[in-house]
Amino acid sequence: MKLKLHVWRQNGPNDKGRMEVYDAPDVSPDQSFLEMLDDVNLVLARQGKDVIAFDHDCREGICGMCSQVINGVPHGGQERTTVCQLHMREFKDGDEIFIEPWKARAFPVIKDLVVDRGGLEKIMQAGGYTSCHTGGVADGNALPIGKDIADYSMDAAECIGCGACVAACPNSSAMLYTSAKVAQLAVLPQGKVEAHRRVMAMTEAATEHGFGNCSNHYECQASCPKGIDVKFIAKLNREYMKALIP
């Protein structure tokens, strides 16, 4: 099939940036979205033109590196799918596709579709862990953990840290991302010990690094490629309240 692409081009953080139009003349439905872009880039490179920069690595939907807004929706809007797992059979011949980077105050553009997500790191560094030292821990089976709790924790732990939730949120809130870690650890006996300190530190770091507040739009859940549920935000809020009341 034949497609017309409108792609955000921005030659570095200080460039103003603009949309540019490219043809993708020979797209196979079995190709992934990124393979389609590879082909466009191949033509550009052969012509000596600068290729479209975009982040990607695993191309399996797990590393969280790929980050594009497609037709206004982070990751393109197919349920539980990252850009790299989006396949061209979801499009049809003659489609026009608009491709932009994550847009959020906290994510400055590095080049074209590549952004700086360093803020997400800071949130994790503020408290996204249990403070256990290597070695000297109990046997893995010393503390039985109910299957329901383990499953709940795993549901939250599926977050790949891509930042789509931030890009989708009108407030650029990182609440879904933060809540996933808070909830994963808060329900486990290993994580409970530091739950209060963790939720305070992580939410504080989110504010400090330019992420907004949550005002219940739930765009985050809709665009999350791992289906992280907004119920974890409710859990974060409960944990926060608990931490406020000593």
């Binding site: 190709q31 490179a45 690595d57 695993c58 862990y129 953990i145 599926e158």
Partner: protein, 638 residues
């Protein structure tokens, strides 16, 4: 030269404990004076950097992604082994040790493998303490599954995302140390050279991938935990950015490359769909627990829908050939068996390069819900890529390059032959011999990072003066200039073909001539073609963009340049090894029914290659392998 792995002697059961006791220690108040560079933040590097930070060393960690959490360890699905014997099914440290040595086709060091098996149990405890949500049973205890090459259930898992959860555990420990100020992270940095001063590793040169700046970093020790090299085949299950660059730059500075020909082709990958494909996707081999591999018995059936092929016309070839392991035969065996069926014209799907992996029987026995619970995300992924529903019709699979058993040579302390250079995880050659068993790479990465390097690096650091050589030394300047010159050269050629076109070309040669089956003839053909393509690359590559900004074409060109040199050494190693063992299959050396034939008399050694210059014959150093605790035997899974 005969290499010495410096393995402890005496009873193997106590070898690691004795070694730890005999190793020197670094005084706690001195630790912060030592600066350690850790390149790579996957399971091996992430765990190492975090643990060393906890001990109080001044650690600097580097990765090419924008976050340490995105290292390719994240993609591991199936699980991690440990000798816990929770299911009470006969497992023990000795059995894990034995299975690993045997699985590796008797081409690994006993002492290293023993240590790995011994610390495997600590890993699970550590990860649980970090909050890794391993699968649990209804009583709340840790759940296990079985994996290829083992008859016990010793694999721990977190849905189909075990690597992700383990890496996020290591990443959380790392994040904690960043907050504590002991670890400094350098993301979007690519190591492009190792700085060696008077034969000792003293630092690295890297490129800031955002600004293009060439940076020098000094360290009292350098750790490489930079993953595997199977992207030399172009299409593989590795991430797009995985490369041999860091390891190869070290090899160019004198570190030996060991057993590069031991590459693993994984049996359960989604077959290739077209020419423009950029990578192959693995589906965890845990699928072989409940899926049955088959192809039609008759060639004319191959075009028919699988549902129309009667039971008696199906060849469940793994169950037929290996009755006791069946669909759980080790990877090298399962991969070669699939290739044999396809070579025999009985493959299915596009290009007839595929075999069926059928869940119908399991679904009948256990119900679709159970299968969904076990593998739901894999079925989902399969459907996204192929638009086929694996619950309704058998999946199609085909082997793909997946893992590198070979890597930089290290001694028992994980130190390379260059003092001060340590190598961990997939980047070293140490424990998997000629074939790695499923769920053992995650175990190795975390063993090296959490439980080995914290001890062994101290033994080295205790002998050096902290900060003796810093980045004002002339060697740093020289290295930076060489890196810049290499970049300028790549950018100035301005030919007609892009790096990805050349990578495809190299990959094709490697897959066809140096892939699942190798012969003297095919290897010699590859040795003719690789330098030809390399020379063309250096005179005709077109790298657009500039060095002073984000430039993925430049990154790819640089990685490919290293793959070219490395590919030649890999092929030479394969040519030198006149035997078949594990993942290395020489068609000249097979039994009558097509099984691998080892030659213990002549090849029971580690082949460590010393680079002597591009296009110059590398020098082979041998480390003889001794087996004192397992009997060298013909590997049989029948």
């Amino acid at each position: 030269m005969i290499l010495d792995g410096k393995c402890p002697t005496g009873p193997i059961e106590t070898s690691w404990d004795r070694h730890r006791f005999e190793s020197k220690l670094v005084n706690p108040s001195n630790k912060r004076k030592f600066k350690i560079l850790c390149v790579g933040t996957g399971l091996a590097g992430g765990a190492a950097a975090a643990s060393l930070g906890e001990l109080g060393y001044n650690v600097h960690a580097f990765c090419y992604q924008d976050s340490a959490r995105r290292a390719h360890s994240i993609a591991a699905q199936g699980g991690i082994n440990a000798a816990k014997n929770y299911p009470n099914d006969g497992d023990s440290i000795y059995r894990l040790f034995y299975d690993t040595i045997k699985g590796g086709d008797f081409r690994a060091r006993e002492a290293d493998v023993w240590r790995l098996s011994q610390v495997s149990n600590n890993i699970i405890d550590q990860c649980v303490a970090q909050g890794v949500p391993f699968a649990r049973d209804y009583a709340g205890y840790l759940d296990n599954r079985s994996f290829g090459g083992a008859q016990v259930s010793r694999t721990f898992f977190a849905r189909g995302q075990t690597g992700q959860q383990l890496l996020l555990g290591a990443y959380s420990a790392l994040s904690r140390q960043v907050k504590a100020g002991t670890v400094t992270l350098h993301e979007r940095r690519e190591m492009l050279d190792l700085v060696v001063v008077d034969g000792v590793a003293r630092g690295i040169t890297c490129r800031n991938m955002v600004t293009g700046a060439i940076e020098s970093h000094w360290g009292d020790a350098v750790i490489l935990a930079t993953g595997g090299y199977v992207n030399v085949f172009y299409l593989s299950t590795n991430a797009m950015g995985c490369s041999v660059t860091a390891a190869w730059k070290a090899a160019r500075k004198g570190a030996y490359m060991a057993n590069p020909c031991y590459t693993q082709i994984h049996p359960t990958c989604i077959p290739q769909h077209g020419e423009h494909q950029s990578k192959l996707t693995l589906m965890s081999e845990s699928l072989r627990n409940d899926g049955r591999c088959w192809v039609p018995k008759k060639v004319e059936d191959c075009e028919r829908p699988p549902g129309q092929i009667a039971e008696e016309d199906r060849d469940y070839y793994l169950e037929r050939k290996y009755p006791s392991f069946g669909n759980l035969a080790p990877r090298d065996i399962a991969s070669r068996a699939a290739k044999e069926q396809c070579d025999d014209e009985r493959g299915v799907g596009p290009g007839k390069r595929g075999v069926y992996l059928d869940f119908a029987d399991s679904i009948k026995r256990l119900g679709e819900d159970t299968i969904r619970e076990r593998y739901g995300n894999l079925f989902e992924m399969y459907e996204k890529i192929t638009a086929e529903n694996g619950y309704k019709q058998p999946m199609r699979i085909y082997p793909a390059p997946h893992y590198a058993m070979g890597g930089l040579w290290v001694d028992y302390n994980c130190m390379s032959n260059v003092p001060g250079l340590f190598v961990l995880g997939e980047a070293n050659f140490s424990v998997h011999g000629a074939n790695r068993l499923g769920a053992s790479a995650l175990m190795q990465g975390l063993a090296d990072g959490y439980f080995v390097i914290p001890y062994t690096i101290a033994g080295y650091l205790a002998t050096v003066k902290p900060g003796a050589v810093k980045d004002d030394h002339a060697e740093f300047k020289k290295s930076a200039e060489e890196v810049k010159a290499n970049i300028d050269k790549l950018l100035s050629i301005n030919g007609t073909k892009t790096p990805s076109e050349y990578h495809r070309e190299l990959g094709k040669v490697m897959w066809e001539d140096v892939g699942m089956a190798r012969s003297k003839e095919s290897l010699e053909h590859a040795l003719k073609r690789i330098p030809e393509i390399r020379e063309e690359f250096w005179s005709n590559v077109k790298v657009v963009g500039s060095n002073d900004q984000f430039n993925q074409e430049l990154e790819n060109a640089g990685r490919l340049a290293d793959f070219f040199e490395f590919a030649e050494i890999l092929t030479k190693d394969a040519l030198n090894r006149e035997e078949s063992c594990g993942g290395h299959f020489r068609t000249e050396h097979q039994t009558e029914d097509g099984e691998a034939m080892r030659n213990d008399e002549d090849f029971c050694y580690v082949a460590a290659w010393e680079f002597k210059g591009t296009g110059v014959e590398p020098e082979l150093h041998k480390e003889p392998l001794k087996f004192e605790n397992v009997k060298l035997a013909v590997r049989s899974y029948k």
